[in-house]
Symmetry: C2
């Protein structure tokens, strides 16, 4: 039953339960840019404090960020990405690449990242771990059982 239609993408649905929120992603992006303190998240995003507190709580509760005492200032708390949080980086890169290609604003040049290992500017590409070749939608096969509804995806999220 490994390829049953109704099971095919529960990982996507489960990921979306946590991640399908604009503020969650913008907080994560700040965290990848080494923002650590509540007031810096707040200033960089212009986010209301009740929303910021709520989203940080969700991220901590889901093990994506962790709270730490700031050793340089005992009164302050730092929010850091956990391994589970750092592992979201490919999703951020994928969003960035798609946005650069399809939603570009000529007045705002894209952010340039550098790959430390090869010292080249980074163009991220989704590849097949086995053969190393780039993968796009037309390169992938799947099996399904047409017509089987995926009851797990039913709900009222809007």
């Amino acid at each position: 039953m490994k390829k049953k239609f109704g099971h095919r993408s529960c990982s996507v649905a489960r990921s979306l339960d946590i991640l399908s929120d604009r503020w969650i992603f913008l907080i994560l992006r700040e965290a990848f840019f080494k923002v650590r303190h509540y007031d810096h998240f707040q200033a960089n995003l212009g986010i209301a404090t009740n929303i910021l507190s709520n989203r940080l709580k969700i991220l901590v509760k889901n093990g994506i960020m962790k709270r730490e005492n700031d050793l340089e200032d005992g009164r302050r708390i730092k929010y850091r990405l956990t391994e589970k949080g750092l592992d979201l980086y490919p999703i951020i890169l994928a969003f960035m690449k798609w946005g650069d290609r399809w939603l570009s604003d000529e007045d705002v040049p894209p952010l340039i990242l550098y790959h430390k290992a090869c010292r080249h500017s980074l163009t991220p590409v989704m590849c097949c771990e086995h053969c190393g070749e780039p993968v796009n939608a037309r390169d992938v096969m799947f099996e399904d059982i047409p017509g089987t509804p995926c009851s797990e995806f039913r709900g009222h999220h809007t």
Copy 2:
């Protein structure tokens, strides 16, 4: 000014303006599994028709999906991914991989995809286009101007 802090991730923010919605992603995922008709999206997702209609309209308006007459049944409309939509596939793969790793449900084995070119099961990996090596958050450098707020990200989306 290419690497100005305030510009660093506007592509991410712009992408999120369209994509930070659970239903949008679940519709896209269905579309990648070759679902084409309104009633099939509705049945597979258990989504309310007003929400489905709204999200399809957003996807068409943003050039991610297109409406086509169904040549096999003139009364029906097909919704298909455009090139811009197909190019979202790495984001779906990145969500799936993260969910498989961090949110796995032992009762539900992960969906297995196959890479047509090498005929191997597909483990997607984000790589550097230049050197071909896998890229994670610790492998990437960026430049910023600390303390510059990114006013473009301010708003009220919740």
